[in-house]
Amino acid sequence: MAHATTPAAGPDAPAIAVHPQAGRIRAGILLALLALSLVAPMVVYPIFLMKLLCFALFAAAFNLLLGYTGLLSFGHAAFFGGSAYFTAHAAKVWGLTPEFAILTGVAGASLLGLVIGLIALRRQGIYFTMITLALAQMFYFFCLQARFTHGEDGIQSVPRGYLFGLIDLSHTATMYYFVLAVFLIGMIVIWRFVNSPFGMILKSIRENENRAISLGYSVTQYKLGAFVMSAALAGLAGGVKALVFQFATLTDVSWQMSGEVVLMTLLGGIGTLLGPAFGAGLVVTLQNYLATSNFPVTIITGMVFMVCVLVFRRGLAGEFYASRLGRRLGFNPEN
């Protein structure tokens, strides 16, 4: 998938000197975003913001696989929605505290990721994508029939509980800062992962798999590692979402959800750290806006998909990084 990550500044782009204070400006932008996220719930409906953060983390986790390893999974809903089910079950039936409920979800998603990854990685390229889609659909049918998921009804009225047994999460404001904290931890983990030696090897596999093999790396194991990592983080997002909305349903394990996360990542910018989060924000806002009209969301989603693939393959972040301003500020996909 070498084309997926069109370099932000191609070789034909004229050289632009990076601003001497670029590092500080970038840090300033990040701090401003952080400050914005702290005060946002006073202006915007907090439940909407929490949904946005969950999907932003989901898209960033998905991008770990597509953007940094070059693997397109069309089955990530299984990890997102599966973890939502596990978390909801752990919190409601087993009565675990939220942190352990979410950990249960993450562990389940990782295990699911290990199994699906082991099977899907037997093939490459387009076949890998079709296999992940088929296996996720199999998991969907499992959730439809399994007893603990309650079929079409889903798991409802899940208690948010007391974080560490102390902090009551039923207050919306408290819940918001908890979700924000989880999101930030997730993003830091992704950032560390991408910039670790492991992440470097993944990028080398993306760019030239044969060379990575000839250098002696067991490519399949690295891909599997990335797949499980991505599944676990998608599970983290799904588990938190189950607690935010206090239910887990079939929607989150359906193939439409797998398609949505691909769109969020594509729209935001494949292979950029913050792009998918912005893509998720845009898609969720759009859906929220269209939910009140009777115009079907799928038509818009499909059109955005087609336009993105035809003329907007770098995505929002990719275009910004490639722009004069973006390069002047020294943005690159890894920071």
Binding site: A4, I119, R123, I126, I131, M138, P296, L310
Partner: protein, 294 residues
């Protein structure tokens, strides 16, 4: 009479349903394999084109009074033409990129088509009557075979074999296969490869639409009928491997029958049996039953 402890009527009935489903799997995976062979695009819109075929037949009957037999020819032509336009104007721009972009584009296309039909016709299914010549049933002694279902099997087999013959036994097919191996060289010999690509995409979409018309009297005509079947067809294609046309056909029928038999012995698993078979084949034989590439 009993077979494996199951009444033979029930056994044969499910076997027949399996064979019918297999007919559609074979037609659809054949179309996917033909398109992938030359264009290197996984046509995610294949399910939507199948649905379009069924809707074309329904709308032609509703507003034009067009009979089933004429719709069986007209619907594939309409859908094929629409597909040719999409290929010329949009899809052809993506061939130079990674294959994944073709898949993502056709996924978006499928969403648009499906969403549009849902908007205008609602999600519920609409009945489409079988042609009067094929209503009724024949008593075979051990079971009663509805005539229309027998026709589906015959029609699907005929079209599958005809497509196989077109690709493996004719001059046009030879061009197609040559263009799959080395498009630049084929173009240098004076063959219009871009036109060949457009025709191939139209042919694949037309096959899907043909399957859609065949399916209209068996299942209900609904905007969602395509997305329900396409993921199963992907699994069929993974099992068969897209390297061989005959492989796609045989795998389609085999998996349809396997699904039908599962309904007899363990109904709870009938939704997932094809995916399970896919997983087992991948573990034992990663290249698929008939495939060469991994």
């Amino acid at each position: 009479m009993m077979i494996f402890g199951i009444p033979i009527q029930a056994f044969m009935g499910q076997l027949l349903i399996g064979l019918i489903n297999g007919s559609f799997y074979a037609l659809l995976s054949l179309g996917l394999a033909v398109i992938f062979g030359l264009l290197r695009v996984i046509n995610f819109a294949h399910g939507a084109q199948y649905m379009l075929g069924a809707f074309a037949a329904l709308l032609l009957a509703m507003y034009g009074g067009v009979s089933y037999w004429i719709a069986l020819v007209l619907a594939p032509v309409f859908v094929g033409l629409a597909a040719a336009v999409v290929e010329r104007t949009m899809l052809s721009r993506l061939y130079k990129l990674d294959h994944l972009y073709g898949m993502l584009f056709t996924f978006g296309l499928a969403l648009v088509i499906e969403g549009t039909f849902r908007y205008f016709f609602g999600a519920s299914g609409k009945p489409y009557p079988a042609p009067s010549a094929l209503t009724g049933a024949t008593n075979l002694g051990f079971m009663v075979l509805p005539n229309y279902r027998a026709w589906v099997i015959v029609a699907s087999l005929t079209v599958c074999l005809a497509t196989w013959a077109l690709i493996e036994r004719t001059r046009l097919g030879a061009y197609l296969r040559a263009a799959t191996e080395n498009p630049t060289l084929v173009q240098a010999f004076g063959i219009n490869v871009p036109l060949l690509l457009t025709l191939t995409y139209a042919l694949g979409a037309g096959l899907a639409a043909f399957a859609g018309v065949l399916a209209a009297p068996v299942y209900q005509v609904s905007p969602l009928m395509g997305s329900n079947i396409i993921i199963v067809v992907f699994a069929v294609v993974v099992v068969g491997g897209m390297g061989s046309i005959m492989g796609a056909i045989v795998t389609g029928y085999l998996l349809g029958i396997a699904e039908g038999l599962t309904k007899v012995f363990y109904p709870e698993a009938s939704n997932i049996v094809i995916f399970v078979i896919m997983a087992i084949v991948l573990i034992l034989r990663p290249a698929g039953l008939f495939g060469k590439d991994v």
